[in-house]
């Protein structure tokens, strides 16, 4: 058998790896590149900008916006007429710093964060007790619960969208902003609960029962064991599930688009970005900068839990 020389084999293999990695991360490089380019360079395929342009980021993060929008003539006018009262100055300045057409990125970021964090937190609390119950205790009905949790995998969001919409319209929550926000929070809890129960249940089964037994012999109650033994022992898994839920809520668009439609100040990031793209502000550098800023927290979170997450992913604990 004639073998190709190892050097050329190695080179071909290396090329293959580069192609796979390149395919995976090219869109990310593309968005980073455009977010830093001046508009005149958008048409050129080079990925590295000739001159760096941070305007898009400054605008989204609201850095140094105040002075920029005031035309030179107005600034001169203000400087040359010292007899204007402070109040008059403020009114004139306000005209030029109106943020009406600027994309309120930080606002959307805050909304998304508040929703995702609360939903993930509440879900994880329910899931710890629920999962402990059906993975550790014997009681009639537990196998039905276990299987029911898996069954929920089959339901797409679209199947629940219309009935949930009618239900929340029925109790009048959709007409008022806090109600709409709260409905969405409840929906995110519902959407993340089954997968959390499933993932945590799988994890709790791997903790040896003898550890718990020892604590109970020492006189700890069952709740005490959960609090002092199970939670500390599975802390990494709990954090992983928390982040997983956080990511599901952070990415959600379907329900948000229906429930928050009329309340612009409550938009989550996906809603806001989509609206930005279809509005007159649709400028590639801002869109790309917003994309980068939306992806970054998730990627950082993921990197911090990578080992655990890949473990739980391969255990089958995922839902899309």
């Amino acid at each position: 058998m004639v073998k190709r020389s190892t050097a050329s084999r190695k080179f071909l293999f290396f090329l293959l790896v580069v192609l796979i990695v390149g395919f995976s991360i090219f869109p990310f490089i593309q968005m980073l590149s455009i977010s830093l380019k001046y508009p005149s360079e958008w048409g050129t395929p080079n990925l590295i900008p000739e001159r760096l342009n941070f305007e898009a980021y400054k605008e989204l993060l609201n850095i140094g916006q105040r002075a920029k929008h005031i035309p030179e003539s107005v600034r001169n006018l203000l400087n040359e007429t010292p007899d204007l009262t402070q109040e008059q100055r403020e009114t004139i300045l306000k005209k030029y710093t109106s943020t009406g057409d600027v994309f309120p990125f930080l606002r959307y970021f805050y909304n998304s964060f508040l929703l995702s964090f609360s939903a993930a937190f509440i879900t994880v609390v329910f899931a710890i007790f629920g999962a402990y119950s059906f993975s550790r205790l014997r009681f009639p009905g537990r196998s039905i619960i276990q299987r029911g949790v898996l069954f929920v995998y089959m339901f797409g969001g679209i199947l629940l969208l219309i009935p949930l919409y009618k239900m929340f319209v029925g109790i009048g929550w959709i007409r008022i902003p806090p109600g709409a926000f709260l409905s969405l929070l409840i929906i995110y809890i519902v959407q993340t609960l089954p997968v959390s129960l499933y993932m945590l249940g799988n994890y709790f089964r791997t903790i040896p029962f003898s550890i718990e037994e020892a604590a109970m012999i020492e006189g700890a109650s069952r709740f005490g064991t959960v609090w002092r033994i199970i939670i500390p022992l599975s802390f990494a898994a709990i954090v992983t599930v928390f982040i997983y839920c956080f990511m599901i809520a952070w990415n959600e668009y379907l329900f948000a688009s229906v429930f928050l439609k009329n309340f612009k100040e409550l938009y989550t990031l996906p809603m806001g970005l989509k609206a930005l793209f279809t509005s007159k502000n649709a400028i590639w550098d801002r869109i790309m900068a917003a994309s980068v800023l939306t992806a970054t927290p998730v990627i950082i979170l993921f990197m911090s839990i990578q080992r655990n997450l890949s473990g739980s992913l391969t255990a089958g604990g995922v839902k899309e």
Binding site: I158, I162, P163, L164, V169, P194, Y253, Q306, L313
Partner: protein
């Protein structure tokens, strides 16, 4: 009163107390799932028989919604688009996952970095990557037209690939493969790592070629996990909304079609409910067929 309760709890034997504790810990989750997942599904079936107005009362109209849905050519178009989308994304994702897993299972420098980087598409929020993909296919600035039209001269003019439904569906397919192959890759890789190395050594002693080793050792070992991935992928992609809708509104798969019917324009909520039921029944039938015929469980 409190003392009495305590006494009754004391009176229970250990087994009964375990039952009580088990139910009390799981009951909040069960109530949430019952009232906000199972009840809405029943309610959805109920709504599909009514003329549903967003704010007014419902009126019973029997099978009118189902009839309107089935008689609408838009529904059949959406069904065909969905089947194309599901078949090609499922095959593409699984094949690519297998291929990448085989590559990443080899030893090479910087392997752990490469393994982290190829997970990016899967973990990044959909909304944060769709615009980059739209830019790549943008007729004026995008790199795709730059390469295929300017350099290779494959097309007569620049055009918007995402603009028309017939070409946009393929962009959506490629996008979905890009987004989801890391999941298949992870599952297959972890199975590959569990294969006993002695098997390969024994095969080499018997003079097996690389292809034979793959065909007779690797493939049988990953067969089951691939069957499971294909099933999950089909279920998920059949219901997929965000990955299609946010990339392009031109590709009307069933979920997107239902969304437009129910929440855009005249808000035909009753027809939307009927569509959701039909979509669910189609999926259910399909899963049963797949499990019986393909996985032979």
């Amino acid at each position: 009163m409190k003392l009495l309760q305590l006494n009754t709890a004391e009176g229970l034997d250990l087994r009964q107390r375990e039952i009580l504790l088990g139910w009390s810990m799981v009951i909040p989750s069960v109530l949430i799932i019952l009232s906000l997942i199972l009840y809405p599904i029943m309610y959805n079936i109920y709504l599909s028989f009514f003329d549903v107005q967003p704010l007014a009362a419902n009126t019973y109209i029997g099978l009118e919604n189902h009839k309107n849905v089935v008689l609408d050519p838009g529904f059949w178009n959406a069904l065909v688009t969905t089947i194309i989308y599901v078949v090609f994304t499922t095959l593409g994702t699984t094949m690519m996952g297998l291929f990448v897993a085989l590559v990443m299972n080899q030893e090479f420098p910087l392997r752990s970095l490469a393994r982290s980087l190829i997970l990016f598409p899967y973990i990044a929020p959909v909304i944060s990557v769709v615009f980059s993909w739209q830019f790549i296919f943008d007729p004026v600035n995008g790199i795709f037209m730059d390469i295929t039209y300017e350099r290779l001269g494959l097309f007569a003019s620049r055009f918007n690939l995402i603009g028309s439904p017939s070409t946009a569906v393929w962009v959506a397919v490629v996008f979905s493969i890009w987004k989801n192959f890391p999941f298949s890759y992870l599952m297959i890789l972890s199975r590959l790592q569990a294969i006993d190395h002695n098997l390969y050594e024994a095969a080499e002693m018997d003079g097996a070629s690389g292809w034979q080793k793959f065909r007779f050792i690797t493939l049988p070992e990953v067969y089951f996990v691939m069957g499971a991935i294909i099933l999950l992928r089909m279920i998920w992609n059949f219901n997929k909304f965000e990955e299609v809708f946010l990339l392009t509104e031109n590709v009307r798969v069933l979920s997107v079609y239902t969304y437009f019917k129910a929440f855009v324009g005249t808000m035909e909520l009753g027809q939307g409910a009927s569509l959701a039921v039909i979509q669910f029944l189609l999926l259910l039938g399909f899963i049963l067929f797949y499990i019986k015929r393909v996985l032979k469980w």
